[in-house]
Symmetry: D2
Subunit: 330 residues, 4 copies
Amino acid sequence: MIVTLHSHISITEATSLAVSLEGEAVQFEGKTLLVVSGKIKKLPARLKDLASDFQVMDNDMQLSSKEFVEKRIVNIAGSNVGSDDKTFVMAGPCSVESKEQIDSTAAYLSSLGVQFLRGGCFKPRTSPYSFQGLGREGLELLRSAADRHGMLVVSEVRDATHVEQVIELADVIQIGAKSMYDHGILRACGKTTKPVLIKRGFGTTLQEFAQAAEFVLCGGNENVMLCERGIRTFENDTRFTLDLCGVAFLKEKTNLPIIIDPSHAMGLSYGVADLARASVAMGIDGLMVEVHCNPARAKSDAAQQLDHNSFSSLYTSLAPVAASIGRSIQ
Amino acid sequence: MIVTLHSHISITEATSLAVSLEGEAVQFEGKTLLVVSGKIKKLPARLKDLASDFQVMDNDMQLSSKEFVEKRIVNIAGSNVGSDDKTFVMAGPCSVESKEQIDSTAAYLSSLGVQFLRGGCFKPRTSPYSFQGLGREGLELLRSAADRHGMLVVSEVRDATHVEQVIELADVIQIGAKSMYDHGILRACGKTTKPVLIKRGFGTTLQEFAQAAEFVLCGGNENVMLCERGIRTFENDTRFTLDLCGVAFLKEKTNLPIIIDPSHAMGLSYGVADLARASVAMGIDGLMVEVHCNPARAKSDAAQQLDHNSFSSLYTSLAPVAASIGRSIQ
Amino acid sequence: MIVTLHSHISITEATSLAVSLEGEAVQFEGKTLLVVSGKIKKLPARLKDLASDFQVMDNDMQLSSKEFVEKRIVNIAGSNVGSDDKTFVMAGPCSVESKEQIDSTAAYLSSLGVQFLRGGCFKPRTSPYSFQGLGREGLELLRSAADRHGMLVVSEVRDATHVEQVIELADVIQIGAKSMYDHGILRACGKTTKPVLIKRGFGTTLQEFAQAAEFVLCGGNENVMLCERGIRTFENDTRFTLDLCGVAFLKEKTNLPIIIDPSHAMGLSYGVADLARASVAMGIDGLMVEVHCNPARAKSDAAQQLDHNSFSSLYTSLAPVAASIGRSIQ
Amino acid sequence: MIVTLHSHISITEATSLAVSLEGEAVQFEGKTLLVVSGKIKKLPARLKDLASDFQVMDNDMQLSSKEFVEKRIVNIAGSNVGSDDKTFVMAGPCSVESKEQIDSTAAYLSSLGVQFLRGGCFKPRTSPYSFQGLGREGLELLRSAADRHGMLVVSEVRDATHVEQVIELADVIQIGAKSMYDHGILRACGKTTKPVLIKRGFGTTLQEFAQAAEFVLCGGNENVMLCERGIRTFENDTRFTLDLCGVAFLKEKTNLPIIIDPSHAMGLSYGVADLARASVAMGIDGLMVEVHCNPARAKSDAAQQLDHNSFSSLYTSLAPVAASIGRSIQ
């Protein structure tokens, strides 16, 4: 339930009310709101005199729900992610591996017109006995490659120990599939205004996914995007199962921009182009694709990254698909 | 393994060899083939003098594998399903409910240009206490509605007790998701030449799916199509999860035409159009959509069927999406 | 909803009512019942004068629900499966392969005191290029081996084409995981009084599982048992995932005897004994285990069958586990 | 691969080798080991002169593998978890809610003989609008309740921001299902010697689960236990699906003590006792059960917690089950 408080109530009073109700106080469009559990269906007695309005939602979603606000647009350095006529492409290698590697990819992608450069520096690897990413050093290489080519940086935070570094150096803070329940990260991201891209956990329901966004939204950061990247199912001939039914649900129920990452879903380079075109035809706000200058030698996710030739051919094919549903590729 | 036998070996001899090897004998493009388990990687000794050639496959697929034949085209009354530039639409109600209902839908769909009329008569309902379909009577209503409007009939067989009736009256025999392991049905479909559309079971792996096709192919019927219609996953806010990663796999590995049914996957009418466009953008051979003249009163699957207005608007939107990848909607 | 009709209403009248309501008429303990969809929560108007009583269920289960009858006991040649103090063991090879094989297994098992001999004759194999079972011939070998050693026969029906043969020759008709939605089989089993053991499909929900039993129960056969044998999940280091949470649910909600098959769930012989003991400790009515005289040479499911030594050691260990919860092994 | 280095090689040299090979150096039983990726099957050239021995594993497991060491026993204040004849019970409320609540539960449990008191203080709740736990304050209440009653504390760390607090105050650091990929937590736990109990993520494969343990083991902490608590499947009538096939796999392949938590798996109090007995009959090292003095008023997981009466009755029933397989309940 979202309760709009009378305007004379200060945010301090609201916060103390929130604490007592196990909810959260948040400011939105000049109003002070109190958000309490979706299980509460009646206005709590003690709020009767303090509330000017309240709204009970159908789902567990609150600030992320279309019932609250029809649509949120995330402005990233002038790019409006979430506007109805554009689909943004985010591309780059799984991991930042060296200055040369990330520079050459940035040069290549910017020459095509891609604005968002992705690259992992703190890798959430399953095994401790594999490349764990270059950390802070990689983040600086990524930042400077992007700056040199006029691109924006998307990079992943793995755990709460380095979230401030990613907030400092990236333009979009990516919360990975394995980290999306991490309160330490989510709370830190709620306190910045930098855009946050949350990837759906591979074992995460759509309701839980939206609630990860709630942690950031109720912290005060309105710039949240959701990214579907495949869920884990019984099918193992592909790495994960891209859940486009879930995307249809999120488009219908949430007010957040939606990004799709076909690379992690498929896990195999041969299917990425078809899935990318299918994703664009869904009318989504962004597409994230892994591209590497030499996939066979990539230090992580070698099987799924596209080489430059394959990516060029995919990228060219996206514009007509987008146009067929009234969008343009950015 | 697929073994090509010397031309002097009769099909009777081949069949008896097949029995002794727990394999199958089949004729293909004038040759007699012996297909044995994919686990056998070396030519069996007793075949040494009888074989002119043999091929070991990577997967459990054999006759359905791209390694055997690049592509199969299924000719249905002049429509070539599987040719690279066409995507066929199959539409109609979940169940045939009455003469009026199926006639009005047939009239409507044929006026749009849809060639394939689908309708269920033997319904594989979960509960015995719900509408089980009109059976033979429904099949005759469907046949005559299709004939009146120059359409082709797609209808489902539920179990082996009535497979002959569907073979007799339909143009395309649909084997449903719950029936696709049914040897009684698969063996009967192997003996006809009528086209067979096999729906993937919601708990079925891609390898198992292709092997259901093997039963029909090795029976001698080369006209097999595969239909992805959603798998069962932990996500329950949508009815099933449409597996487009699986479709990418099937396109890469099998030689069979691929159809997608977004209606059953989503289970909710609101997502069907987006998923249909995504499916077409994958470059598939056919699209199957449930359409009902009055979904709210449908006797089965009420939540997911499109009404005529929604379907018209979807249908119109498909042509530009198909064109954007070099195909036309049929 | 289950409606008890006034005693003056004939079964013919009841059946015609059932047809008009898309329900089923059934006789139970001298009463005539009309079972209609669980979605109907109010007594239909036309039944007002005909009903002496009615009961609305919580779940989709009706005749199988504990709300209808607390417990059903299935008497199989004097063995009461479902009585609170006994757990019956059903054992035997995956497939009947030869007279020698099934005889030696029957001799061995009966010497231990096992009463139920299982063996597959119509095998629902995934691939057409593998051993499909000995069919009718196997069934006769199984019958005669059981008769020679005073055992009862459990054998599987694969599809509707041979259900009558299994009804004729087996003591318990097993409906396999891949066949449990098959109306042809379920309807045929509803017309006999022979006990039916339904295995849960690996992609089947508990509600759907119970509804397969409803098909048999409403056909008039009260002798139905449910068998959990593992569901398909993302985990692939074991063949399936034995769902004991599901067993707890079935014990709480249904009135049917419950059997567990750990062999198919695990798919690997090393885990079968531990899972068998866990199953017995759940307080179930029966345990089904695959045993083969020479697993390495088995024609199907070689990896999961126990050899005689392993089975003896498992069998001996079951009695104390059963005793610890107040049951005995039969 | 695990490489045993010659004894003259210092740990500093080993660590620098490890860095260059993207592996880890660790000391074990007086030897210095270098662990590198399981994908490396041949001894790297530069190690030829430095290695006295090396071992290639079958699985992705290394230090956690039975191939490395048969069995690890975790000594917790004198209790040997992992010894073949004992099963330890860990019980307590989902959340520490107040001094009174945790004291009364501790008094109750210690009176039964339960040694391990569990209680959550940093709750990984899905929604920000629900009780998030008492944090540090709760941890101190839990510690002092346990101390007063001579019990050991098991408590969960939610994210890396407070891992040091849990290490400081708990006897067993529980890493929750949603946090088990968290490198910040895992690395911190590798640096202490306090026992760590890792819960399997509900979307986590068995191989990934064991690899979470590898992070702690290769950090130098040998006191790791694995806890199965249910995985997410298509079945939704129970909260999760307890994966006892997975437990059989872990018992066969890993050297770590195994704990089972039936409360979270079932999510409903009615099934917990049956599942607990099944778990004990598997021959596991520990059982974790949620107990609350008044479940209906619990601030989290109300549906699944047992009240004192139900727990007493369950607890009493465990001893004979354990005895039936040669173990005792501790």
